[in-house]
Symmetry: C2
Subunit: 334 residues, 2 copies
């Protein structure tokens, strides 16, 4: 695509706004869709997303609109950057404006709650598998750092290598290096499942259990991600790359991670109900924990960390006791 | 072995002192060897290692001595917990007091500089391969956390499974969980090579490059550890476990890590010569970087992160430029 082409970014949260901003800097014209009319109007006028991305000023090339038709008009590319549980509805509403020539890119990390589908599966189900060019973008991508031009990497995955290369061409820059993959399942599951482990990591920090425990937890977290991921058809190697291990480590380390923060607060003794009320952004790891556990049950797979996170959030299990149980599972060969 | 048996801990640095302390808590009598007579005398009198492990009081069961003969007298187990470059000499001096019935355990993470040997290879070379029972202990083990009773895991590796199980029995407790492995090469190399990546991680933090960059660096760091490790005979899976990925993540995250700290200061603009003068403990990653690069050259393997660390330390390469070069290597499939 030519740089003069238009890109629709659906979702003006912290990731969508960041993507709109960095793509506008690369010379694209952006249609940024925000479904709440008042927020769209404010963002269009102020040029700053004070809730989700304060300090970043959107240039005139970013056209903020509450109209999907306007955002997608003449767009060569359609990026989804919404909370996972809002994707299906947005996709249904966007469907009339999406054409087979457009490249559709999911930038959402999660699993749909009641169906347990990956995000690209939801898009395929809504738009029709044969009718669209579809790719996903996932990696160690704390939005605020990328918006500030700090170096980062990510992975573009698609079944058709040309679509992955197209995503790479759109995003690749000096400070945002895009690698390609054919393993859509692995790249999406890495991005979705690491949020559960990030919650557990936050708990370790909130409980003051230290770096030794956190290193062990991340190691075992990756192992349980791989157990489920490979059972669902992903390539094991994908999880050792940037979209797996890389994203996992970044999210477990960064205090800017929403999921880490939820875990930290749980570790500090807050209850999920209270935390939830105070959140301005969705912590994807919470619904993902439930979906992942159901998938694991279907596959007959053990996911002890995900189970602990689920029990702490939804069954008021004590975080310290849960972490102690995780750390004191029977000694055996590694 | 009975808990009344005696264990010799050779080396009263922060790890040796920690091991002596936790083993004494498990009921063993400890001979703790410190080669500097004045330090041994102070430690014996004060019962606190104010330089390396302040705040931890050694009980009377820990007998601190500058005499190897005394430390090893009637010892069923001999632990080495010294800087890697001091191991050979200490081992040579200890050799007359080590018997074939003793279990020798290396707790040292490094490579001998001029020979590029792993620590257990040095011990074997000095003591004679056939004459000893030999195991290694390595994992995500920030000493200060373990001394304070915070939960941690580690891996005991030996060629003879009985020796690995013996190490497990000696150390395994509620808060220090020991797993066994037969891959001595992999466990030792994971522990040694991660220190190089920890220096690079510290640089990322010192340069303020953010969590996205750090996640990418750790991912690629593990990949280059695995390239060298498998070429040297290690099992790839070992590096995905606690002694590989686990130790790597812990060391790259913890501000208590000496190697991370060296990197951080380099990233902040200090020169190695100045940093070195101020260190009270050895940063193992520095000599290991050189040894690893030489081994990689022999094997025809690329280790770009280790090379960057080496060039920054020994050739005054600019850390920012080196990190930029690492992050902007050519885009390609992952």
């Amino acid at each position: 695509m030519a740089e003069s082409d238009r890109i629709a970014v659906l979702g003006a949260g912290n990731w969508g706004t960041t993507l709109a901003y960095i793509l506008s800097q690369r010379g694209y014209r952006i249609g940024l869709w925000e479904y709440r009319e008042d927020l769209a109007r404010d963002l269009a006028a102020l040029r700053e997303n004070r809730i989700y991305l304060p300090g970043v000023i959107l240039p005139p090339e970013v056209d903020v609109t509450p109209s999907l038709g306007q955002a997608l008009q003449k767009a060569a590319v359609c990026l989804f950057a919404l909370p996972s549980q809002s994707l299906r509805e947005a996709c249904q509403q966007a469907a009339p404006f999406i054409t087979p020539h457009q490249l559709v890119i999911s930038c959402v990390k999660g699993l749909e709650h009641h169906t347990r589908l990956r995000m690209s599966q939801v898009i395929e189900e809504v738009l029709g598998r044969q009718k669209i060019r579809l790719a996903v973008l996932s990696g160690p991508n704390i939005a605020g750092e990328i918006a500030r031009g700090m170096p980062a990497t990510s992975v573009a995955a698609a079944l058709d290598p040309n679509d992955a290369l197209a995503v790479q061409r759109i995003f690749h820059s000096k400070n945002f290096r895009i690698y390609t993959s054919g393993d859509v399942v692995g790249v999406e599951l890495g991005g979705a499942l690491k949020n559960i482990i990030a919650i557990a990591s936050g708990m370790v920090d909130g409980l003051g259990l230290g770096a030794n425990t956190k290193g062990a937890l991340i190691t075992r977290g990756l192992a349980e991600i791989i157990r489920l991921g490979t059972a669902l058809g992903a390539n094991q190697e994908t999880f050792y790359g940037l979209s797996g291990l890389g994203d996992l480590v970044t999210t477990c380390m960064s205090r800017q991670s929403r999921n880490w923060n939820v875990g930290y607060r749980l570790g500090q003794g807050e209850r999920w109900d209270d935390i939830q009320r105070s959140l301005t952004m969705v912590a994807e790891g919470v619904p993902t924990a439930e979906s992942a556990l159901r998938l694991a049950e279907d596959e007959g797979i053990e996911m002890p960390i995900s189970r602990a996170v689920y029990q702490i959030i939804f069954e008021n299990k004590d975080p310290r006791q849960a972490m102690e149980e995780l750390m004191t599972r029977e000694a055996k060969p590694e």
